[in-house]
Symmetry: C2
Subunit: 170 residues, 2 copies
């Protein structure tokens, strides 16, 4: 089965991001706005208990933290993605690294950059237009991160929650 | 904020139900297939910790169980809903009752009937057609219930996970 690990920012941030995703993100209906901690990966049923144990360990050692969201950026030309950048993101990096060690380690060709996608799979012209109009915008959103979630993907491409992990370190 | 409490059946059941929901359920893209334990309700931020405590208590005392799904039924004429019926549903009733006591108590005009919606808000003719063709079908699906989830609703009507509660009674 295909799993993924994400942070959902607070509702106000999700609503803000959805106002753009509705137009620019074909995954709009498949999953709420999120920060990916670990991209989709395959896991056998028999491996699940061990994975849960590892994630629980990570969540036991990590403390809740705040992140700020103030501007839009893009992965162009690598990927035709526009996103809300995550500032003060060291804690997100650390979570990503801890989750991606042990049995859930996978090599990735990309550097991990914490972000919330606004638009993806965009035509080059559209991406330039949209990014051009959004790149000078400044906003001032903050969200508390005190949990992450393990999700799994259904046949239609949408994601269902499997389990929440509360950050409960000191 | 608007919250709801659900059970997500195993992936095979969700995929089966989605094959119908795609055509007959306008909420298809808003939430994965689910058994509602508690309909949408309002909760102030200040009430959330107490609610979480109550739900945690319920989940500590409840044991995992299995449910069988073998046929389709309808709430017509009360509601234009077609659903997969939940058999051996006493455990689901008990969960519903425990969750709906204490601070999360709300009166409801409807009797609680555990179900997984396949279609809703259907025109009467369509409902009769679809139900007529599905009512004689028998299938043999089983799903383990070892957790429930607290969700909240975004402005666009879709639902995001807040927290998982693992059933960990003996």
């Amino acid at each position: 089965m295909k799993y993924g690990i994400v942070i959902f920012p607070e509702k106000k941030v999700q609503d803000f991001v959805n106002s753009y995703r509705k137009r620019y993100d074909p995954h709009y209906a498949l999953i709420p706005p999120h920060i990916t901690l670990k991209e989709a990966f395959e896991l056998e049923d028999s491996q699940l208990p061990h994975a849960i144990e590892d994630l629980d360990q990570v969540s036991r050692e990590a403390s809740p933290f705040d992140i700020n969201l103030t501007k839009v950026s893009t992965f162009y030309p690598t990927n035709h993605v526009i996103y809300v950048a995550v500032e003060e993101s060291e804690h997100v990096y650390t979570l990503h690294e801890k989750i991606n060690s042990g049995m859930l380690h996978h090599e990735s060709g990309y550097k991990f950059i914490p972000h919330i996608t606004i638009g993806q799979k965009m035509f080059e012209d559209e991406l330039h237009d949209v990014y051009g109009s959004l790149r000078m915008n400044r906003f001032d959103l903050q969200t508390r991160v005190d949990r992450f979630h393990l999700l799994y993907q259904l046949e239609n491409g949408s994601w269902t929650i499997y389990q929440t992990f509360l950050l409960r370190g000191n």
